[in-house]
């Protein structure tokens, strides 16, 4: 199980399994540089592997005014 917090929407999502960050981004409809993908205190690149139990923070970067 992977838990995903989406900012600034303040959504919490759970997924059974995603192999990589790129797969998660596609599932969320995000392009590579649409959001920071954060695990703990590190940033993840699209090829980074996700593990069971991961808590991932997705921080969208597009400012809206």
């Amino acid at each position: 199980m992977i838990t995903v917090f989406v900012e600034p929407d303040n959504q919490t999502l759970t997924f059974e399994r995603h192999n990589t960050v790129l797969m998660l981004q596609k599932r969320l409809g995000l392009r590579v540089n649409d959001a920071l993908i954060i695990r703990g205190n590190e940033l993840l690149t699209p090829d980074s592997r996700l593990n069971d139990g991961d808590e991932i923070r997705v921080r969208k970067v597009m400012s809206t005014g």
């Binding site: 600034p8 540089n33 649409d34 940033l43 921080r59 597009m62 809206t64």
Partner: protein
């Protein structure tokens, strides 16, 4: 994915540059882009005092931190818009950031100046974002001039600049196209305005803020829904995704080949500017636009039975 420079594990992938960096090399890259912008466009001269407009978002706080690390004499300016549940949170982030890094900060409270944005929304019949932007620019310039700053820096990034250039191009607005760029020189009562982050995308400033532990204000303004620039940014994000490097190529190409052509044909046709009779800011109409707004708000507030 490995860092292109040192081969350590990368944390930042940048398709636009066909590269990826670890956090240390990304920091070096980020600094290099800011230095290149300053050097290429003569944004800051030695010894100049720089006033940095701070909203509490990733761009302005990243700019402030980077300019201070580069050794520039920087002071932050935050305009507290007076919007319930929003402005207080943004101000807290700005104050906490400046205290943490030992940076100077000035705060202008629009409530005290008689122009809180909720009153603009309530009493003035024009788009609130337009009036808010006008008021913020007024105070940025006014504080810069009154407090002896030579330069006013804002955190506009590449995405902001491309979206604005795109909007100006859609309208073929020769006036704006003649002077849009990372540096607007001081003249007629205006401080020099600079945008040192113009070479860096929103994603890159977001990465910088995160990797430097900057606590940012992320909630969108409750009044800003549907701003046209956001739609333009989405269009450009699609284009950049399909063709990495499109944004910087479009903007750099404009600076090199587009703007000079517009500057050449655009003649100064506006009325001459003089100091506002009330606040001293440059205006062509006796009272500047912000002082007229303040008077209109005060009159309508006084006539509002709900505010008696």
């Amino acid at each position: 994915m490995k860092c292109r420079k040192c081969k350590a594990t990368a944390e930042v992938a940048l398709p636009s540059h066909n590269t990826a960096f670890c956090r240390d090399c990304f920091s070096t890259y980020f600094t290099g882009q800011v230095e290149k912008a300053i050097r290429r466009h003569g944004l800051i001269n030695p010894g100049e005092r720089v006033l940095v407009a701070l909203s509490g978002g990733k761009d302005s706080l990243s700019l402030m931190l980077e300019l201070s690390r580069l050794g520039y004499d920087v002071t932050g300016l935050h305009v507290d818009l007076g919007i319930p549940k929003s402005s207080g949170a943004a101000r807290t982030k700005v104050e906490g950031f400046c205290e943490l890094h030992g940076l100077n900060l000035r705060v202008v409270e629009l409530e005290k100046e008689g122009l809180p944005i909720p009153d603009i929304k309530r009493y003035i019949n024009r788009p609130v974002c337009s009036a808010c932007g006008k008021i913020k620019r007024h105070w940025f310039n006014r504080v810069a001039l009154e407090d002896g700053f030579q330069v006013l820096a804002t955190g506009h990034n590449l995405d902001d600049e491309v979206a604005r250039l795109f909007a100006n191009t859609l309208r073929w607005d020769a006036g704006y196209l003649s002077d849009q760029g990372p540096c607007l020189n001081a003249e007629s009562g205006f401080a020099r305005k600079i945008k040192p982050l113009y070479r860096l995308s929103e994603f890159e400033t977001g990465c910088y803020a995160f990797l430097n532990g900057i606590e940012i204000h992320t909630a969108p303004c409750p009044y800003s829904g549907g701003a046209s620039f956001t739609g333009h940014k989405r269009l450009w994000a699609d284009l950049e995704h399909q063709s990495p490097g499109s944004k910087i190529a479009f903007y750099d190409g404009f600076l090199k080949r587009g703007r000079p052509a517009f500057a050449h044909v655009e003649q100064e046709t506006g009325a001459p500017l003089a100091p506002c009779e009330k606040c001293g800011s440059p205006t062509s109409t006796g009272l500047c636009g912000v002082c007229r707004l303040a008077i209109a708000v005060a009159e309508r507030r006084a006539a509002d039975p709900d505010r008696q």
